[in-house]
């Protein structure tokens, strides 16, 4: 796959694209941190792949994910579960993405960044619920950028009880 690194100065298009990608993630994490869950699936294409996977599975080539969706519909079903069928204690999640590494390829834009998710349960100290790296692929889709693929590989394999909200 031929890639064009986007961090060469003086390329206006690159800078504009990087700004768009940044704006995309600002909006993405903003929606999740504010628990506007119904907006979440729209950040993805209809035929997307979403995986939240323990590092040990990822490195050993195992298919199994902690959360997996093969379509925007499955992401919507995740939201339905969170809003209508699942039972969990109230909590806040806050996501801290690290610096973006953006490269453009023939099949879209590759974006990689670290992600720290901090969870705070009522009456408890905050703790790290997820620490990992996101391997994303974004494409132009109906006038906006959307995620065609998002693979969140997390180091924090012993999850502090439950992983409720998405990464």
């Amino acid at each position: 796959m031929s890639t064009l690194t986007m961090d060469r100065p003086g390329m206006a298009a690159d800078a504009a694209l990087r700004a768009r990608v940044r704006d995309f993630y600002d909006a993405y994490y903003d929606a999740l941190d504010d628990v506007r869950l119904e907006e979440w699936p729209d950040f993805f294409t209809a035929e997307c792949l979403y995986r939240v996977v323990p590092r040990e599975n990822h490195e050993r080539g195992y298919m199994l994910c902690t959360m997996q969706a093969e379509s925007r519909g499955m992401l919507q079903d995740r939201v339905t579960g969170l809003l209508k069928t699942q039972m969990y204690a109230p909590r806040y999640y806050r996501r801290f993405p690290g610096p973006l590494r953006v490269t453009a390829g023939t099949d879209g834009i590759r974006a990689r960044h670290n992600l720290l998710m901090v969870q705070t349960l009522i009456d408890q100290q905050p703790n790290i619920v997820l620490c990992g790296v996101c391997h994303d692929r974004l494409v132009e889709d109906a006038e906006r950028l959307r995620l065609a693929e998002r693979v969140v590989v997390f180091d924090s394999e012993m999850i502090a009880n439950s992983l409720i909200y998405p990464a």
């Binding site: 994910c65 499955m74 079903d77 209508k84 969990y88 999850i159 992983l163």
Partner: protein
Amino acid sequence: MSTASSPASRDVTQQDRPAPKRWTGDGTSQVPYWVYSDEETYRRELERIWYGPHWLYCALEAEIPKVGDFKTTILGEKPVIVVRSAEDEISVVENRCAHRGVKFCQSRSGHTKDLLCPYHQWAYDLRGELIGVPFRRGVRRQGGMPADFDTAKHGLRRLRVEVVNGVVWATFSDDTPPFREYLGEKFWKHYTRVYDGRKLEVLGYNRQHIPGNWKLMMENIKDPYHAGLLHVFFVTFGLFRADQKSAVDIDETGRHGILISRKGAQEVNDVTADMRNFQGDLKLADPRILDVVNEFPGDETVGMITIFPSVILQQQVNSLTTRQIVPTGAGGFDFHWTHWCYADDTPEMKLRRTRQANLFGPAGFVSADDGEVIEMCQQGFAASPDAEALVTMGGHDIAPTDHMVTETAIRGMYRYWREVMGL
């Protein structure tokens, strides 16, 4: 807690410890909350249950296919190494150097020729026999081990092992009966329905720490009453419901149990009227998660087995897992999920199993409910050790039933628990 007069070198025995609290009532229809929180009770559980005459789940054989392949795990609170020591032999040894007690193997899994402690380079073969002690005869005639030092007496502690239809079991005790006898004939049948001798393959792992007593996880899978109420996803989509043809079976001792059920349809009826949060009109946007194939003999689509004390063997539609329990004190346990498939599954079947895995694990549509509710149980128990849990659904009997409105399997487990604990 050793007494002041006891020599420091002696192992602390149960006699030296304060007695656990006494269970004063009869039967097991009321379970005092201190069984979930009392540290002395937990210490006795480690000695009499985890290190006593019980088989503990270690691994799937498929995790260590080649000689020299190993994985580490924890049985009770003791770290062990599970290693294929010969073509047709699996050894389970304590992950604790015989010299200074180092937990020397820190990898989760790998491949090795021998077992080496980095501290002083003591080396053991794959069966745990001591094969190398550097400077054993000293250096230039100085120092070294005493003349009577016998390497044969300083190997790693080996556990008894049985490999049964692709699953590795180990026990610390010489008194544990053979595995099949430990299950009993009825549960041997339940076990071999899914673990039928076909080769297994690992799909991947999930791990979570649940801040609740380890017995609550056993109880959860011995309690079909909650499954049709707490798990709205199950009920809504007909995967597990109180009005479906079901059964609870327990072995003669009461320690092992199985919940058996069969899938129905999404429907509204007099049973769902009892559920305040039933979502009768809920639709999935992408229902492929419910694409279920009948693959086992008979009409049953669910078989959830609890093998006391260490593991849950899950068959729920096409999702197959072992869920290993590792206690970490009275108030918590680590929960290790190994999702697997049959080695000869089609790629389509493997995908189906991983898709249905969204129901399970720490982010599962269903299983996340369980982790959450177990934590909430522990929060409720902690401050009221002398209050009691009611376990009277289905009466006071301890017997197999052909419905799921019962807590009989929980009563059965505590009857056995009281016997083995002497409480």
